[in-house]
C-alpha cells in the first residue's frame, strides 16, 4: 500500500510516496536520492545505515519510513550542514576508514556516542553507573562503537578519531 509522507532529512522537508513496507533507509536511498546512509545488511546487524533520529542513533534499515514522519533524520552529510563536523575531520586525520562504505554510519554513530556520554548514559563497560557524564575511555569507545562493523577493520584508527572529539567536547579526561 502506498502512502504520502513527508520526511525531514538533513534539515529539509522531503515529501514522497512510500510503500508502507518501505524502510527509512530505502526511502532515503531508493526514493529521495539521499545516499549518505549505506546498506550493509538490511537487518540491523552492521550499522552502516546508522542515522540520528531526533538526535538518537538508530539503524535506519529497522525503522519504517512511515514512522519517521515528524522526526529529524540526520545522516553524516547532514552533520556537515555548517561545514565539516569535527568527526569528519578527525576521521580523515586518523585514516579511520578505508573503503569508506561503513564510514557515514560510523560517524553518525560516534555523534550519538558523544551525546550519550554527555548525558551520562552507561554502557556495558561503564564502572560508575550513576555519573553525570561518562568518561569516554578507549574501552568505552570500543564498546559503544561495536555496533558498527568495519570489514576493512579501521577500528584501531576509529578509536583515536572519536577520542579526539570526545576530549574537545569534554567527555573524555
Amino acid at each position: 500500500m502506498d502512502t504520502q509522507i513527508t520526511l525531514r532529512v538533513d534539515g529539509a522537508d522531503r515529501p514522497l510516496t512510500v510503500d508502507t513496507r518501505t524502510s527509512l533507509l530505502d526511502a532515503m536511498r531508493e526514493r529521495l536520492g539521499a545516499t549518505s546512509a549505506k546498506k550493509g545488511c538490511d537487518h540491523g546487524q552492521c550499522g552502516a545505515c546508522t542515522v540520528l533520529l531526533d538526535g538518537r542513533r538508530v539503524n535506519s534499515c529497522l525503522v519504517l519510513a512511515v514512522t519517521a514522519e515528524g522526526q529529524e533524520v540526520t545522516t553524516s552529510d547532514g552533520l556537515a550542514a555548517d561545514g565539516p563536523h569535527r568527526l569528519h575531520e578527525t576521521f580523515v586525520d586518523h585514516d579511520a576508514y578505508q573503503c569508506g562504505y561503513c564510514t557515514p554510519g560510523q560517524i553518525t554513530s560516534a555523534a550519538g556516542v558523544l551525546a550519550e556520554a554527555a548525558q551520562g548514559w552507561p554502557s556495558a563497560v561503564t564502572e560508575d553507573l550513576v555519573a553525570d557524564r561518562t568518561d569516554l575511555t578507549d574501552a568505552e569507545i570500543r564498546e559503544r562503537m561495536s555496533g558498527n562493523l568495519c570489514r576493512c577493520a579501521a577500528y584501531a584508527n576509529i578509536v583515536p578519531a572519536v577520542a579526539q572529539v570526545a576530549v574537545e567536547q569534554g567527555v573524555r579526561a
Binding site: 513496507r21 530505502d26 546498506k39 577500528y155
Partner: protein, 689 residues
C-alpha cells in the same frame, strides 16, 4: 612542467577521497541513477542444493501490481559461452543451495521482494554432498593450482627424512569456510543504451569483467561501459564476474529499463564466493639444534560441481624455510557447494596459519624459542625454485618485532601465567606474500595551465589507490599533487590489471611513470598533448624469488571460566618494499592483521550437512571482528627498496598483513592455555573440549 623538490611518494598524505567518503557523498555502485527511473531486481533462490527444477509457477508473482517481469530458465535470454558457474537461468539444473532459479523485476524493491515469495518452484531433489574429509576416496589432484602453481612439489626423500628426524611433529590443522563479507553488498546498476550495455558496478577493476560480460551478451568491448569509481570493500569477492552482474544485464534487456540489483547479505554467502575450508597435515622433522630436515604439507580442500577452484594453500611452505627434503600436495573434493573464490591472501592465509602453527609446535618439541627456530632455518635462496631472493628481510622483521613486543622476557612454559581468571600467553608467526607486476596501461593528458589528467582503469577498493596513484603521478610529473587529476574505475580508461593479489601499486604505478616519461623533455603545445605508457612483468619474475615478509606477535588472554579469547596486544613488522604512503599503508596492514584476528577468533560459515546451505548466512551469526575485539596494535616496517620488480621499489601490502596473523594468535592461545586447538576459529566451546 614545474620543477619541485618535494616528493609525494613516501609522505603521509591524507586520502584525497576522504572528505567525500566521510560525508557519504562518494557514489558507490547502487548510488548511481537515483533520479527515480530505475527499477529493482530480486532473486528467487533454490531451496535445494542438488537436483532439477520440475516446475516453476510465476503467475501469482506476475499478478502483483508493479511487477514488470519474472524470468526463469524457460524464458530468460540465452547467455554466450561463459563459465558453467555463471550460466544463470540457463537450465533446469541445480548445483548448489541458493542458486538463482527466477528473477523478479518490479517498480519498487518492496514489490520485487513480495513477488519473489509468490514464485512456486518444485524440484526433483537429491541429497547433496558437502562433507569435506581427508579420508574421502574421491579426492583428486587438480591439474594446476590457482596462479599457475604446480599441484605438488617434491624434493628429496621426505618420508625417509621424517623417519630419521630426531625431533618431529605430525599435526593436522583445519580452517573453516570463510566469507569475504565486504560491507558494501555486491550491486550492479545496468541499462541498455541501444546496443551498448551501461553498468555501474561494485568490482575490483572494470576490465576484469569485460571478457565475461561481452561474451555473455554477444557484444564487443566497445559496447560495454562499466563505471566503478568507489567500491565498498571487496577482499576478493568482487574480483571476478558473478551471476548478479549477468542477471542485471538480462533484466535490463527484457524490461528496457535501468535496473538495480543489490544482493542481500544472505545471498552473498552463496553467490559471490567464499574461502574454501582446508584440512592440512603438517609434518616437520628437525635435528636437536633446530635445523629442519624435512617439511611436508598436504592440503585437502573443496571445490564446487560447477567450477574447479584449486586454492594454492601450501605454496608459501615451498619458500619459507630451508630443509633438504620437502613436499607439498593439494587434493580437491568436488562438492555440492557454491563456487569458491579468492579471499584476502588466498592460499597464504590458511596455508601459513597451518605452517606457522606447526613450526610453533616444533619449537615446543625442541624446547627452543620459536623466533630462534625460524632464524635458524632462514634459507639463503628460494629453497624450491633455487633462485636468489630479490629481497628477503624476514630476519629483520622477527628481530625488530621481538624487540618492540618485549619477547625477550617471555617465559616459554605454556599454561602457567594467570591474571585473575585470565590465562595469559604470547605467540609469534611469520608472514609472506608474493610480489608481482601485471600488465597495465596509463594515459596522461597535458594542457598548459591545467592539471594533468592521469587516466588508468585502476580500482580503489579501500586500499588508498586514489591517493597513492596521485602521489606517484605527481612525482613522476614533477608537480604538486594538486596538479594531478586522477581518473580510475572505468572500463573506457586505459586497461589495467584488477585490484587483487596485492598487485595494484606495483602494476599501475609503473604504467603511470612510463606515461610520465613520455612527457619528459617535451614542450606541451597550447592545444595540449596526450601520451600513454605501459608496464608489465619482465624476466625478473623468473630470475628472482620476490616476496614481502613480516612477523606477527600477539598477546592472548583466555577466560578460564568461559573460554572467551581476547587479544589485547598485537605487534607486527613488515618488509614490503618502498612504502608509498605510510598513513594508508599502515591502515592496510592494520586491516589485514585485524582480519587475521577475526579469522582466528570468529569466522566460520557452517554448511548444513543435509540441505547444503550456509546455516549462519548473516552478520549476526557469521561473526567478524568488531571494534571491541581490537586492542593495542603496533605496526612498523623495515627500510626496504626492491627495484628489481618495479621502478617504485614497492611490494604489495594488501595481503601480507593477514598472513600469519591468525597463527600468532593461535600460538599465543596455546602458550596461554597449554592446550593446542588446531581447528579455527578459537570459539569458547573449544577451550572445554
Amino acid at each position: 612542467m614545474t620543477a619541485t623538490t618535494e616528493r609525494a611518494v613516501g609522505s603521509d598524505v591524507r586520502r584525497i577521497d576522504g572528505p567525500a567518503k566521510v560525508r557519504g557523498l562518494a557514489p558507490y555502485a547502487y548510488e548511481h541513477e537515483v533520479d527515480g527511473s530505475a527499477v529493482f531486481v530480486a532473486l528467487v533462490q533454490s531451496t535445494v542444493a542438488k537436483g532439477r527444477i520440475t516446475s516453476i509457477d510465476v503467475s501469482a508473482a506476475q499478478a502483483v501490481p508493479g511487477v514488470l517481469a519474472v524470468l526463469t530458465h524457460e524464458d530468460a535470454p540465452r547467455l554466450g559461452d561463459v563459465a558453467e558457474e555463471l550460466l544463470v537461468l540457463q537450465s533446469d539444473r541445480v548445483q548448489y543451495a541458493g542458486q538463482p532459479v527466477a528473477v523478479v523485476v518490479a517498480e519498487t524493491s518492496e514489490v520485487a521482494r513480495d513477488a519473489v515469495g509468490r514464485v512456486v518452484v518444485r524440484y526433483d531433489a537429491q541429497r547433496p554432498d558437502v562433507d569435506l574429509r581427508a579420508d574421502r576416496d574421491d579426492l583428486y589432484p587438480p591439474e594446476k593450482l590457482m596462479g599457475g602453481f604446480e599441484t605438488d612439489s617434491v624434493i628429496g626423500d621426505v618420508d625417509a627424512a621424517l623417519a630419521a628426524a630426531p625431533v618431529s611433529v605430525d599435526v593436522t590443522y583445519e580452517t573453516p569456510n570463510e566469507h569475504n563479507n565486504p560491507i558494501e553488498m555486491h550491486a550492479t546498476v545496468a541499462r541498455w543504451d541501444g546496443d551498448v550495455l551501461r553498468m555501474w558496478d561494485a568490482n575490483q577493476g572494470p576490465h576484469n569483467l569485460v571478457p565475461v560480460i561481452t561474451e555473455a551478451f554477444g557484444i564487443t568491448a566497445d559496447q560495454l561501459h562499466i563505471t566503478s569509481p568507489y567500491v565498498g570493500g571487496a577482499f576478493g569477492s568482487k574480483a571476478f564476474t558473478h551471476v548478479h552482474q549477468l542477471i542485471a544485464g538480462m533484466a535490463a534487456k527484457v524490461t528496457g529499463r535501468t535496473v538495480k540489483v543489490e544482493l542481500t547479505r544472505q545471498q552473498m554467502f552463496s553467490l559471490v564466493g567464499h574461502r574454501t575450508p582446508t584440512i592440512q597435515r603438517l609434518r616437520l622433522g628437525a635435528l636437536p639444534d633446530g635445523t629442519m630436515t624435512a617439511i611436508s604439507h598436504e592440503v585437502v580442500e573443496h571445490t564446487s560441481q560447477n567450477a574447479e577452484f584449486a586454492e594454492q594453500t601450501a605454496t608459501a611452505t615451498r619458500l619459507m624455510y630451508a630443509a633438504p627434503a620437502r613436499r607439498t600436495t593439494h587434493r580437491l573434493a568436488k562438492l555440492d557447494v557454491p563456487a569458491p573464490t579468492i579471499m584476502r591472501a588466498p592460499g597464504e592465509a590458511p596455508g601459513m596459519y597451518a605452517l606457522e602453527s606447526a613450526v610453533d609446535e616444533l619449537a615446543e618439541a625442541l624446547g627452543m624459542d620459536p623466533v630462534e627456530l625460524r632464524l635458524r632455518n632462514e634459507p639463503e635462496r628460494d629453497p624450491e625454485r633455487d633462485v636468489p631472493w630479490s629481497t628477503r628481510n624476514l630476519v629483520a622483521c622477527l628481530r625488530q618485532g621481538a624487540e618492540r613486543f618485549g619477547w625477550a622476557d617471555r617465559d616459554p612454559r605454556p599454561g602457567v601465567r594467570a591474571d585473575g581468571r585470565w590465562l595469559v600467553g604470547t605467540g609469534v608467526a611469520a608472514s609472506t606474500y608474493p610480489t608481482r607486476r601485471r600488465p597495465s596501461q596509463a594515459r596522461i593528458e597535458a594542457v598548459p595551465g591545467k592539471p594533468f589528467v592521469v587516466s588508468i582503469d585502476a580500482s580503489d577498493i579501500g586500499t588508498g589507490a586514489w591517493t597513492a596513484l596521485t602521489q606517484i603521478a605527481a612525482d613522476a610529473l614533477g608537480v604538486p599533487m594538486d596538479d594531478v587529476d586522477l581518473r580510475i574505475g572505468d572500463s573506457r580508461l586505459p586497461k589495467a590489471s584488477g585490484a587483487g593479489g596485492s598487485t595494484g601499486i606495483t602494476s599501475w604505478g609503473p604504467a603511470i611513470i612510463a606515461a610520465a616519461q613520455e612527457l619528459r623533455d617535451r614542450e606541451v603545445p597550447p592545444g595540449g598533448l596526450t601520451v600513454t605508457g605501459s608496464s608489465g612483468p619482465g624476466d625478473e619474475a623468473e630470475q628472482y624469488s620476490s616476496h614481502a615478509f613480516g612477523a606477527h606477535f600477539a598477546e592472548v588472554r583466555v577466560d578460564r571460566d568461559s573460554g572467551e579469547v581476547r587479544v589485547p596486544r598485537m605487534t607486527a613488522v613488515f618488509a614490503a618494499g618502498r612504502i608509498i604512503n605510510p598513513t594508508t599503508a599502515r591502515s592496510q596492514f592494520l586491516g589485514g592483521m585485524t582480519m587475521g584476528l577475526s579469522m582466528a577468533l570468529h569466522e566460520e560459515a557452517v554448511l548444513d550437512a543435509t540441505h547444503g546451505h550456509y546455516a549462519n548466512h548473516d552478520l549476526a551469526e557469521y561473526h567478524v571482528a568488531t571494534n571491541a575485539d581490537v586492542g593495542e596494535v603496533d605496526i612498523s616496517w623495515v627500510d626496504e627498496v626492491d627495484e628489481l620488480h618495479n621502478p617504485l621499489g614497492a611490494k604489495g601490502i594488501g595481503e601480507v598483513g593477514i598472513v600469519g596473523s591468525a597463527a600468532a594468535i593461535g600460538n599465543a592461545y596455546a602458550h596461554a592455555t597449554g592446550r593446542r586447538v588446531r581447528d579455527l576459529p578459537l570459539t569458547p566451546d573449544k577451550f572445554f573440549r
